[in-house]
């Protein structure tokens, strides 16, 4: 390979960001090609230019500085750029084994998995990229058909962790080891270990390094999700997850009484409120699942920030958590989580 040029210090990420926000697929592609022509390696264009822009999309979206629609558009443009790069870069000969790359079902952020798939291909793996929206039965059927060396599973949304766990277990039951990555598994990969994955990687480069270093150990013996998480025996997760919509409805009704401003809400605002409550209950259920308070308090803090940006009075969230706590009086673990969420809010204000 010829000497490659580092991306750091170049304007490529900035130029691609502008092209992507302008929805200009062709300008975006030209930036990527220009980087290639200037001697930046294909992997670096993928991860340090396209990947950097995509990370920035995530940050801007989380801070409510770009709309969801813009996020979708940016992702669509980046997907095109990746496809164009693939046609411009020679595929190396297969030097490594076969890897299946997939998102956890319900995960809509397919791009990190796509970047990993492309990186692995460039490193000489044989890659089956299944993308987003892959139900676990399809994934397992694929594993039986192709017998890959490992599955790389991507998830960015923590609330998909229970599904991720079921998927990890299903892959392992089919005899295939699993490496996981993505924000859902925690910045330090704590949930990856908790859910019994064979390996975790903080980013695509690290995942490719890990897989190239040595094959992952094959899973031994059948095991079930409950074996990893004995605290689930208290049934609190099951109860909260199963009654999520009635919890949301009850808290919503209570909120309408306690927050006078809600009476003037339009359809759109009512919808937002119900959705915010649904997210809170989802995160509560997930925190119960993994048995981690921080997962819930972190989300409460983030929601408080978003609501402030949207101009929602801060006491509305507090009132919502109070109402939730009242509904969960019979569930000690859930009650403690909500109380921790309320503490978190009080620290913010």
């Amino acid at each position: 390979m010829t000497a490659t040029r580092a991306v750091a210090g170049t304007r490529y990420p900035e130029l691609l960001w502008d092209a992507v926000l302008a929805c200009d697929e062709y300008a975006a592609r030209d930036v990527a090609f220009a980087a290639l022509d200037a001697g930046v390696s294909a992997e670096s264009v993928l991860l340090d230019v396209v990947g950097a822009v995509q990370r920035r999309v995530g940050v801007e979206w989380a801070a409510a500085r770009i709309t969801v629609a813009q996020e979708h558009a940016a992702t669509a443009i980046n997907e095109r750029v990746i496809a164009a790069l693939a046609t411009r870069t020679p595929r190396p000969a297969a030097r490594h084994g076969r890897i299946t790359v997939s998102c956890v079902d319900g995960e809509w952020h397919a791009l990190p998995a796509r970047l990993l798939a492309e990186t692995l291909t460039l490193r000489g793996f044989t890659v089956d990229y299944l993308g987003a929206q892959v139900p676990a039965p399809h994934l397992v059927a694929h594993l039986h058909r192709t017998a890959p060396e490992a599955v790389a599973l991507s998830s960015s949304i923590p609330t998909r962790l229970p599904v991720a766990h079921a998927t990890i277990t299903a892959c392992q039951a089919a005899g295939v080891p699993v490496i996981v990555g993505g924000a859902a598994f925690g910045a330090d990969g704590r949930y990856a270990r908790l859910l019994g994955a064979q390996a975790w990687a903080p980013d695509a480069r690290a995942a490719a390094d890990r897989l190239a270093a040595a094959p992952l150990p094959r899973p031994v013996g059948a095991h079930q999700p409950i074996d990893d998480l004995p605290h689930l025996a208290d049934q609190e997760y099951s109860m909260v997850a199963r009654s999520a919509t009635s919890l949301v409805a009850a808290v919503y009704a209570g909120l309408a009484e306690r927050v006078p401003a809600m009476r003037d809400y339009g359809e759109q605002e009512r919808q937002h409120t119900a959705q915010d409550l649904a997210h809170i209950v989802d995160f509560l259920a997930t925190a119960l699942y993994v048995g981690d308070e921080e997962l819930f308090t972190g989300f409460v803090a983030w929601t408080a920030g978003i609501l402030a940006a949207r101009g929602v009075p801060p006491h509305a969230l507090h009132a919502g958590l109070d109402l939730l706590a009242a509904r969960l009086r019979d569930f000690p673990r859930a009650g403690r989580l909500v109380a921790a969420g309320i503490d978190q809010l009080e620290r913010i204000h």
């Binding site: 697929e25 629609a69 929206q133 139900p135 039986h144």
Partner: protein, 529 residues
């Protein structure tokens, strides 16, 4: 010399064999159970079994440990009890416990093996697993050989503590006594008839050394042999006993079943893949300066296809327009999918009529309308052609929700087209609408699975057309891919974990490529792609 009275009451009839041995290694006394266990032993004879004599010498030298060994067919634990200068050896028969322990080990192994073998339905992986298990528990090395084709033998070999190694080579299985038979499904050849020295080079893993003994066991399959298992031991190891050979056969039976199941699954999966290929929704892309994007999700997670479908047929054969079709047939699951396949094939055949939507729908209606069948479908036809920077669309809905158009400014319009569903009545009517998509306008075709999905934060609300229009308004100016994904995502998230119907969306926009040439603004202009 002790006598029975000194030894205590009941000594002669004690249920444990006792042999009293003096300092010279001569038997001084033996009880009834001892005589039964050791018929050759009598008072005055010298202790004959070397392991027991060694143990006796150690006790005389001051030791006191128990000894373990075999007397004839029995496993014995010998406990020394000092008896004056002599030693009374209490010989406890542990044969039953030994057998139980061995049996338990074997049961454990079979349980481990079964769950390991059941894990994968992939034939290659299953062969590897079989070789690895056999090399770990049954022999120093193992080979799994599959029935080959045209002289090629696929095989996996594994040395104890090693990784399975795949290989395929031209070899004659009859070079190994018993192997040809095993691969043809004949009964196993006893290992004592097999000369390990005659084993061909290819059978021996590299650096394995000399083969001391060899067992060839058939892997029984479902009707046809699944292959053969070859177990190898090095020459310094004990040869395989009859009992071990029998046990290897028990393992081989399980491995054979697993391999056959994996083969059957692989074959079914292949058939399904081939038959399914034409039923899967196609990948959409830019055609003639018009961007198309589609998203699909079957109602059941286990299905990949269902009753919704879409296709995009590029212009050609005298037609200037590209035809996009999105539809929904009655029913769900595989049967509905088969019907979509028929409709899609029929539509492909009717493409020359695509200039006239009414005529095309009439012909499709005739094709579906057979006295014996109750098959019907709703669909939307969209004929698209680039016109300068804009896209001209002719849209016809037949019993289907009319398409929506979102303008660059976020305004959402319903396209004014109505029509009757196809496959029910002998004559059908429909009305075609014409729409111009300016740059950054998007047309959305969708099936009712999108709007009728129930769920949402409060549980049982329908997603509905109003929310769909709201969502589409937010997509103003987005690329076709992004709009299709966003609408699909919102509907799926609305459903959450609740059941939903098949869902399909297709979006159409003008490509944003630099317009290179266009012949009079009409026809198939060339665009960078």
């Amino acid at each position: 010399m002790p006598n029975q009275a000194e030894a205590g009451p009941g000594w002669p009839a004690a249920p444990v064999a006792i042999v009293v041995v003096d300092t010279d290694g001569v038997v001084a006394d033996v009880n009834d159970a001892g005589r039964a266990l050791l018929p050759d032993v009598a008072v005055g004879t010298v202790l004959a079994d070397p392991w027991l004599r060694d143990a006796h010498d150690r006790v005389l030298a001051g030791g006191a440990e128990t000894a373990i060994g075999r007397l004839g067919e029995r496993s014995i634990v010998a406990h020394p009890v000092r008896h004056g200068a002599d030693v009374a050896w209490w010989l406890v028969d542990t044969t039953a416990e030994e057998e139980l322990r061995l049996e338990r080990r074997r049961t454990d192994f079979l349980a481990t093996a079964s769950s390991a073998l059941l894990a994968s339905l992939n034939p290659d992986r299953c062969m590897e697993m079989t070789a690895q298990l056999a090399a770990t528990y049954l022999a120093d090395a193992a080979l799994v050989i599959a029935p080959g084709r045209q002289g090629w033998l696929p095989m996996v070999s594994c040395v104890r503590d090693g990784h399975p190694v795949r290989d395929e080579r031209v070899a004659n299985p009859d070079e190994v006594p018993g192997l040809g038979e095993a691969l043809r499904g004949f009964p196993p050849v006893p290992s004592r008839w097999i000369d390990p020295a005659g084993a061909p080079e290819w059978l021996r893993p590299p650096d394995f050394g000399e083969v001391g003994s060899l067992v060839v066991t058939p892997l029984p399959g479902h009707g046809v042999p699944a292959g053969a298992l070859v177990l190898l031991r090095r020459s310094q190891q004990a040869v395989f006993s009859d009992d071990e050979e029998l046990f290897a056969r028990l393992f081989a039976a399980r491995a054979g079943s697993a391999l056959s199941a994996a083969h059957a699954y692989a074959q079914q999966a292949l058939i399904t893949d081939v038959l399914m290929r034409d039923l899967l929704p196609p990948a959409l892309r830019e055609v003639g300066g018009v961007d198309f994007a589609g998203r699909y999700r079957a109602a059941l997670d286990t299905d990949r296809v269902g009753g919704d479908f879409y296709d995009v047929h590029p212009a050609g054969d005298g037609r200037a327009e590209t035809l996009a079709v999105l539809g929904d047939v009655c029913g769900k699951g595989l049967e509905a999918a088969v019907l979509t396949g028929k409709i899609r094939t029929t539509l492909r055949a009717l493409l020359p009529m695509a200039d006239d939507h009414q005529r095309l729908l009439r012909l499709l209606n005739d094709a579906l309308l057979t006295p014996a069948s109750t098959r019907f479908a709703t669909l939307v036809l969209a004929s698209a052609v680039r016109d300068g920077a804009a896209v001209l669309l002719r849209l016809t809905a037949a019993g289907h929700p009319p398409p929506l158009v979102v303008r660059a400014n976020g305004e959402v319009e319903e396209v004014d087209t109505r029509g009757m569903l196809v496959g029910v009545l002998p004559t059908i009517r429909s009305r075609t609408a014409t729409v111009t998509l300016d740059p950054a306008d998007t047309c959305l075709l969708y099936t009712d699975g999108i709007v009728e999905v129930r769920g949402g934060p409060l549980g049982n609300e329908m997603f509905g057309e109003r929310r769909l229009r709201g969502a589409l308004a937010e997509c103003a100016g987005l690329p076709a891919e992004a709009t299709a994904e966003r609408i699909h995502m919102l509907a799926m998230q609305w459903a959450g974990d609740r059941p939903h119907d098949d869902m399909a969306v297709v979006t159409i926009t003008a490509s944003r490529g630099q317009h290179l040439t266009a012949v009079g603004g009409h026809g198939r202009g060339r665009y960078t792609s």
